[in-house]
Symmetry: C2
Subunit: 336 residues, 2 copies
Amino acid sequence: MTNIRHPYLLFLGDAPDQLAAKTSIGVGQWRPEWCVGQVRLPGCKADSGFPDLSVDAAADRGAKTMIVGVVNRGGVFSNAWLAPLVRALERGMDLAAGLHKRLNDVPHLAEAARRHGRKIFDVRHPTEDFPIGTGARRSGKRLLTVGTDCSIGKMYTSLALEIEMKKRGMKADFRATGQTGVLIAGSGVAIDAVVSDFVAGCVETLSPANDADHWDLIEGQGSLFHASYAGVTMGLIHGSQPDALVMCHEPKRPHMRGLPHYKLPDLQHCIDVNVAAARLTNPKAKCVAVSLNTSALSAKAAERAIKSTEDKIGLPTVDPARTGVGRVVDRLARMR
Amino acid sequence: MTNIRHPYLLFLGDAPDQLAAKTSIGVGQWRPEWCVGQVRLPGCKADSGFPDLSVDAAADRGAKTMIVGVVNRGGVFSNAWLAPLVRALERGMDLAAGLHKRLNDVPHLAEAARRHGRKIFDVRHPTEDFPIGTGARRSGKRLLTVGTDCSIGKMYTSLALEIEMKKRGMKADFRATGQTGVLIAGSGVAIDAVVSDFVAGCVETLSPANDADHWDLIEGQGSLFHASYAGVTMGLIHGSQPDALVMCHEPKRPHMRGLPHYKLPDLQHCIDVNVAAARLTNPKAKCVAVSLNTSALSAKAAERAIKSTEDKIGLPTVDPARTGVGRVVDRLARMR
């Protein structure tokens, strides 16, 4: 399993805007205690809020991995990145990237990593072998975030739950299944890049048997109602054996992401179908809450959306960014 | 896309029994018109029924591909196979294998293939890139075989339908999604070896737009109720956009294959869940028939099982090996 060492140095490169560096910035937001600073090249318009450091200064402060969570125009590898990345390897750091393009395929980097005995983690490209899923029950509790669509708040909700549960002294661990999540957690697997036969088995490996009162908070992917990715979601549901599902939804989304001809499913129907699928490997699976992404709404409209959803669905409804996830954790704390 | 040339020469190697050579034998059963003969090594206890030939004699008869559809004890590559496989390459044949072990990873074979300008198809290990599924509707009709479990007759049913439909002059093509099917069809993709994100897109590619009255008969894999593989099945269902599902089932199977702690689903429930999943990408999807595998039953018990299933489910019920699939094709012929 990928195991990325921290402290982290956040590489923002020559990102033309915040969005281009969103992965590095996200790692900084969710793991501020692991980050010593950021490296920005001339022309960079993004800012993670961490102090600007040279690679050498970051190495002196103990950085063990440089997080390459940035894309440039066209999604290709930028030659301007080469010198700082090689320098990081020379100074004893590993590299961890969530790019489509493998850093391991950049000859200069692969060669420098070999020379300095360092690792390059291309987290979008898992290289391990995983077992076939067994469906065997294992100890410990598991929560899986699911959604009406992709990119709707599943990682955000899972991470918010981890913070709130740890604050209350509960045993909980975020289990990453996407590239940004893996960089945030320092471990995990980008599940959509795993060979289809092994998806359920991979998730079983990611969330192994644990203490009876320990919660794995498994980051969901895709949606059972997304025509491109529902198979990934199905394997994730079965491998997770979730005791609890949290359904993530964005009230005003016009259509399924990337599929303009597909409408979002009805929220209650989506919950029912996800619970039914989950019950194959955990007959006690239930949906415990709804997590709304109301970022496109005014404060007032968001409040209304949360209340009307809660009235309609009959489950605690939150927006992690507005209301926090305390009410979800209240409910988890009562589950034995 | 894999495209394997025929005529075929069936390699049975030193198979200790029929089961060990079942892939080669299956290719011979379903594509007799493509097969010139078989190669058996000393000690071989399997027989495809085709004439025994030397590699050279087969080459003289025009064989273009040697089908390596055999496993020996332990599933490893047998050194005894090396000489005949190299000879086939020397005589201008390609090799096509459905083994876990890649023939391309056997240095002598890879080198001989290169030297003679021949191809080695390791059909369990697709090497192409596939697109993300779009869910966009395409012309032509599609049938997908689904099942209550794995290894329950989906390939057999699909192939039997192809033969019956072609006999009636209908436009129909078997679309292979597993290694044996790919060897039989000479094309297709072992879908369980495709990266999970691309399963639906791969199936869309496998069954492209076609004439309005053309049927793709898509080989199903796994089961939505199999805890290890349901994700593969889900991607296959969505990518297929099936107009028609045929549900495959074995009445006396004691538990899900490989999962002794999982019972088979109720047949009607399994149909309902598969149809609901299929309607995401084809709102008109319906289940048109049940295909029973009654090979474990006496003729009398099989007849009873077929009748009672038909009475209970209310759909034409067949066993392709006993009753043929004519009644299913009758129904397809009425679908416009």
